[in-house]
C-alpha cells in the first residue's frame, strides 16, 4: 500500500497546504481505517489495498467528457481543469470560493470529523492539491443545470474535492459524474451546504473501466426548510465505496434518496449512509437497490439517527436487493437508532431473485426469459435512474452502459 507508506513516512506530497498538513497529521496517528468497525468490516481488504497502490499523478492528461450536453445552457465543469468561474447573470450568480474561504470552510468541517467515519475525507483532503479543489457559491433563481466531472487517469490515484454552498432560496439541478479509467483510483469528497428554503436535485453517476477503484464521500448539511433529492448509480468498479452523510441541522427539512449499485465479475461496491436528524419535523424517504451478479459482492449499510430533540421525524428506509448468481453475495444492514418517542420510523430489507410470477406472466405472453429478465431489470433500474436529474434524456446511454458485458 504505497500511499500508506508515504503517509507514515511523511512523503505523501510536496509543499502541502495547511489543510493538507493538518489532515495528514491526523492520518499519521492512525493511517488505516478500523477494519473491525461496522463501517469497514465487510470491505474487501485486498481490494482496498489495490486502491492505495497507485501514486498521485501530478500531470493528468486532458479529460474528454464522454457524452454531449443535454441542453445548450448546461454549465459543465471538470474538477482539476478549472478555469476561473465567476458567472454573474441577471437572475443568478455562481462564484468560485477563494482559497481562504475554502480553508476556513474545511477547518470547520474537519473539527466535526471522526477519524474512522471520515477516513475517506481525511485521505482526500490530504491528497487534494489546490488545483483539484472546486468550491462554488451559488445564489439566485432560474439557475441552469450544472454538470461536474471528476476522473482518475490510467495507472494513477487522483483526489478531487467539491464544495458547494447553496445560498438561501435557491433551486438547482446538479449532476456529478465520477469516472475511473483503467487501473486507477479516484478519491472524491463532496461537501454541500444547503441553506434555508433551498432545494438541490443531485445526481451522482459513477462508473469505471477495468479494475478502477473509487472512494466517494458525500457530506451534506441541510438547513431549515431545505430539500435535498439524491439519485445515485455506481457500477463497474473493481472496488468502490460510497459514503453518504447527511445532517438536517435543525430538522424541518426533506431528504429523498434513491441509490443503486450494480456489481458484476468479482467487483465489490458498497454504500454507507448515515442520516442525522438534529431537530424536529425532519423527513426522509430512502431506497437503496443492489444488484449482484457473477462472483461480486454488494453491501448496503444505512443508519438513521433520531435523537430526543428530533420529535415528529418521519423516516423510512428500504433496502431492495437482487442476487442473481450462486457465487455473488449481498450484505445489507438498515438500522434505526431512536430516542424520540413521537416519531414515525420504519425500514425494510429484502434479498431475492427476479420475481418468478412476473417472469412467468411475461413468458406466457411470448416474451423469452432473457427478454423478460431484461425488462424486469430495466424497470428495477428505472425507479432510480428517473430520479437522477438530467439523466431522463440520457436513459438510453445509461441503459447501454448497464447492459454492457
Amino acid at each position: 500500500m504505497k500511499i500508506i507508506e508515504k503517509i507514515k513516512t511523511n512523503k505523501l506530497i510536496d509543499n502541502p497546504t495547511e489543510i493538507q498538513k493538518f489532515c495528514l497529521h491526523k492520518l499519521q496517528s492512525r493511517p488505516l481505517p478500523n477494519f473491525k468497525s461496522e463501517l469497514w468490516r465487510l470491505s474487501n481488504k485486498s481490494k482496498f489495498s489495490e486502491f492505495l497502490d497507485y501514486s498521485v499523478n501530478e500531470k493528468e492528461p486532458k479529460f474528454d467528457i464522454p457524452f454531449s450536453k443535454n441542453s445548450q445552457n448546461t454549465i459543465r465543469l471538470i474538477i482539476g481543469e478549472n478555469r476561473q468561474i465567476n458567472l454573474i447573470e441577471e437572475n443568478y450568480s455562481i462564484e468560485q470560493l477563494s482559497e481562504d474561504k475554502l480553508d476556513e470552510y474545511f477547518k470547520e468541517q474537519i473539527s466535526y470529523f471522526d477519524q474512522n467515519q471520515n477516513w475517506s475525507d481525511l485521505l482526500n483532503l490530504s491528497l487534494s492539491c489546490t488545483k483539484n479543489i472546486l468550491g462554488l457559491k451559488i445564489n439566485g433563481s432560474k439557475i441552469p443545470p450544472i454538470e461536474i466531472f471528476s476522473h482518475a487517469s490510467n495507472n494513477s490515484l487522483s483526489a478531487k474535492t467539491l464544495v458547494i454552498i447553496l445560498e438561501k432560496n435557491c433551486d438547482i439541478e446538479l449532476l456529478q459524474v465520477n469516472l475511473g479509467k483503467e487501473n486507477s483510483s479516484l478519491s472524491q469528497s463532496t461537501f454541500f451546504c444547503i441553506e434555508e428554503n433551498s432545494s438541490l436535485n443531485h445526481g451522482v453517476v459513477s462508473y469505471g473501466e477495468k479494475r478502477s477503484n473509487l472512494l466517494n464521500s458525500l457530506n451534506v448539511i441541510q438547513h431549515k426548510n431545505s430539500e435535498y433529492n439524491l439519485g445515485t448509480l455506481h457500477f463497474k468498479f473493481n472496488y468502490a465505496r460510497f459514503e453518504i452523510c447527511i445532517k438536517q441541522s435543525v430538522g424541518e427539512a426533506k431528504t429523498n434518496i434513491k441509490s443503486m449499485q450494480i456489481t458484476k465479475k468479482d467487483e465489490q461496491i458498497s454504500t454507507y449512509t448515515r442520516i442525522d436528524f438534529n431537530g424536529p419535523d425532519g423527513f426522509l424517504d430512502q431506497i437503496n437497490k443492489s444488484l449482484a451478479d457473477d462472483k461480486s459482492h454488494a453491501i448496503f449499510e444505512g443508519s438513521i439517527i433520531v435523537p430526543k430533540i428530533a420529535q415528529k421525524t418521519d423516516a423510512s428506509q428500504l433496502s431492495r436487493n437482487l442476487l442473481l448468481s450462486n457465487f455473488a453475495q449481498i450484505d445489507t444492514k438498515p438500522q434505526l437508532e431512536i430516542i424520540a418517542d413521537d416519531v414515525k420510523c420504519k425500514h425494510g430489507a429484502t434479498i431475492s431473485q427476479l420475481n418468478e410470477e412476473e417472469l412467468f406472466y411475461m413468458r406466457t405472453r411470448g416474451i423469452t426469459l432473457p427478454e423478460a429478465s431484461k425488462l424486469q431489470l430495466s424497470s428495477y433500474f428505472q425507479e432510480i435512474i428517473s430520479f437522477i436529474p438530467v439523466s431522463k434524456d440520457r436513459w438510453n446511454l445509461l441503459d447501454k452502459l448497464l447492459n454492457e458485458n
Binding site: 450462486n326 438500522q335 434505526l336
Partner: protein
C-alpha cells in the same frame, strides 16, 4: 399524550421476588483459576472428559477479550470477585422431595412454583435450580415411563454420561464467545432433557432458576436433545433477590433436534433489574442456540424479557437439516436504566429451510432497547426463506429503541424479508379507550399487550397470562 409530571410521578410496584432465603450455604472462595475449576469438577464428581472440557474452555477464555460491540457500556466486571460455586447445605444424597430443606421448598412456594407432591403444578414438570445446584425435579417417574429423561445436568453427567459426552458443546462450542467460554469452564448445574425417538413429551417441562446469593454468579447449562420424530415444550423462569451489587448470570442453552423433531423453548425472564437509579440488578449474558440437525426438524424460541439490568442474549437457530424451521418470538420490555440487547441469529445452511422472526421491543424510562439480529443464507440454502418483523414502541421521550438487522445472502434462490417500525401509543387510541370508560393505565397496558399479541400467542397458556401480568406490572407508573 404523556403528561410530564406523571412520568416523573413514578408509582413503583416493588419487585415482588426480591426476598432473600436465609439458608446455610456452602460456598467456595471467590476468584477464578484452574484450581477453582478442578474443585468445582471434583465437588460434582465429574469424569475426566468433563474436567478437560472445563480446563480447555478456561484456557480459551483467558485468551479472549470481553466483547464491547453491543455498546452496553456496563461497569467492568471483576471476575476474581465472584463466587463460582454456591449451594444450599443439604444431606449428601436426597432420595425424595421430603428430604429437601423446607426453607427451599418454601422459597419456591413463594415464587409460585410449589414442588411438593401435594401442591406441585399438575401439568408441568419442574426442575428447580437454586444458585449453583438443582434441588428438585418433579414428575420424574411419570416422565421415565415414557422414556423421557428430565434431571439436573449434574445427574445426567453421572447417569447418562454417553449423551453428555456426545452432545455437550456441539451447539455452542466452548470458544464461541467470551461468556460461553466462561460458562463452559465453571458451569455448576442446569437441566438436561432427552426425548426418545417418536415420543411426544406428555407434559411441559420447566426449569426455574433462582439466584439467592448476592456475591455468586449463576452459570447454568441446559442441554435438550429431541430424537427423531419427538417433540417437547420447555419453559424457563428466572428471578433473583434485590441486591445493590450486580450479579452475573452467564448461562448456556443448547438444543438439538433430529429428523422431524420439534423443540419449543419459552422463557419468561424476570431477573432483578436494579432500582430506578440503576443500582444493582443482574447482568444477564446468555448464549442460547439450537441446532436443527435433522430433516424437517423445528426449533422455536419464544421469550418475554422484562428483567435484568443488562441483557445480552440472542437465542439462535442453525438450520442444517433440509426443510428445517427456526422461529424466534420475543417481547423485550425495558424501563428505568435497563439495557437490553437481544435478538436472534438464523443461519440457513440446509436447503428449503425457513425462519420467522417476530420481535417486539418496548422501551420506557431511560432505558435502551436494541434488536440485533443476523439472517444468513449460505450457498447451499436453496429455496430457503426468512421473514423478520421488528417493532419498537417508545414510551416517554427519554427511552431509546434501536434496530440492527444484519442480513447476508449468498444464495440467489432464497428470500429474505425484513420489516421494522417504530411507534408510540397515540393520543387518539388512548382517548378512544378512555372514552369507553377504560382507566388510563389499563388502556396503556391493553395497548402494550395488543402490541405484543403476535408473540404472546406463541407462549404456552400459563406463561402467556403470566407475561401479560408481568408487563402490566413493569409498566405501572412508567407512563402517565
Amino acid at each position: 399524550m404523556v403528561e410530564e409530571n406523571l412520568v416523573k410521578d413514578v408509582v413503583k410496584e416493588p419487585y415482588k421476588y426480591g426476598f432473600v432465603t436465609d439458608i446455610e450455604t456452602e460456598k467456595i472462595e471467590k476468584g477464578l483459576n484452574e484450581d477453582i475449576i478442578r474443585l468445582i469438577s471434583h465437588k460434582k464428581e465429574e469424569p475426566k472428559y468433563l474436567l478437560d472440557f472445563r480446563l480447555k474452555a478456561f484456557k480459551k477464555w483467558q485468551k479472549m477479550e470481553e466483547p464491547d460491540w453491543a455498546g452496553l457500556g456496563y461497569k467492568q466486571i471483576d471476575y476474581q470477585d465472584i463466587i463460582y460455586y454456591s449451594a444450599p447445605k443439604q444431606k449428601e444424597k436426597i432420595s425424595s422431595l421430603d428430604e429437601v430443606d423446607p426453607k427451599l421448598l418454601e422459597t419456591f412456594d413463594k415464587l409460585g412454583i410449589p414442588l411438593t407432591e401435594q401442591k406441585k403444578l399438575t401439568n408441568v414438570a419442574v426442575d428447580a435450580v437454586f444458585d449453583s445446584v438443582s434441588i428438585a425435579t418433579t414428575f420424574r417417574e411419570e416422565l421415565a415411563e415414557h422414556g423421557v429423561i428430565f434431571c439436573s445436568i449434574s445427574e445426567a453427567v453421572k447417569n447418562h454420561s454417553d449423551l453428555i459426552e456426545k452432545y455437550l458443546g456441539t451447539v455452542v462450542p466452548a470458544s464461541d464467545n467470551y461468556f460461553a467460554a466462561l460458562n463452559s469452564a465453571v458451569f455448576s448445574d442446569g437441566s438436561f432433557v432427552y426425548i426418545p425417538k417418536g415420543v411426544t413429551c406428555p407434559m411441559d417441562l420447566s426449569s426455574y432458576f433462582r439466584i439467592n446469593s448476592g456475591d455468586s454468579g449463576q452459570f447454568e447449562r441446559t442441554l435438550i436433545i429431541a430424537e427423531e420424530s419427538s417433540s417437547v415444550s420447555y419453559l424457563e423462569g428466572c428471578t433473583a433477590p434485590m441486591f445493590d451489587t450486580n450479579t452475573l448470570h452467564a448461562a448456556v442453552v443448547e438444543l438439538i433436534a433430529l429428523d422431524d423433531a420439534s423443540i419449543k423453548y419459552s422463557t419468561v425472564q424476570n431477573w432483578y433489574a436494579g432500582d430506578e437509579e440503576g443500582v444493582g440488578g443482574i447482568f444477564n449474558f446468555v448464549t442460547k442456540r439450537g441446532k436443527c440437525l435433522g430433516k424437517r426438524s423445528k426449533i422455536s424460541w419464544s421469550q418475554v424479557e422484562t428483567g435484568s439490568a443488562i441483557t445480552w442474549k440472542y437465542p439462535s437457530c442453525i438450520l442444517l437439516g433440509e426443510e428445517s424451521i427456526g422461529e424466534f418470538y420475543s417481547v423485550a420490555l425495558t424501563n428505568n436504566l435497563q439495557k437490553a440487547d437481544t435478538g436472534t441469529k438464523m443461519i440457513h445452511i440446509g436447503p428449503k429451510t425457513k425462519s420467522t422472526i417476530v420481535s417486539k421491543g418496548i422501551s420506557a424510562g431511560n432505558s435502551i432497547n436494541s434488536y440485533r439480529g443476523l439472517v444468513k443464507m449460505g450457498t447451499k440454502a436453496t429455496g430457503s426463506r426468512n421473514y423478520s418483523q421488528c417493532d419498537s414502541m417508545l414510551i416517554g421521550d427519554q427511552a431509546s429503541a434501536n434496530t440492527f438487522p444484519y442480513i447476508k445472502s449468498q444464495q440467489p434462490n432464497s428470500e429474505i424479508e425484513h420489516e421494522a417500525s417504530t411507534c408510540r401509543i397515540s393520543e387518539d387510541q388512548l382517548f378512544y379507550l378512555q372514552s369507553r370508560g377504560i382507566e388510563f393505565e389499563e388502556a396503556i397496558s391493553m395497548m402494550v399487550s395488543g402490541f405484543c399479541r403476535d408473540v404472546f400467542n406463541q407462549l404456552p397458556m400459563e406463561f402467556a397470562a403470566e407475561a401479560d401480568k408481568l408487563l402490566a406490572l413493569k409498566l405501572e407508573g412508567s407512563v402517565g
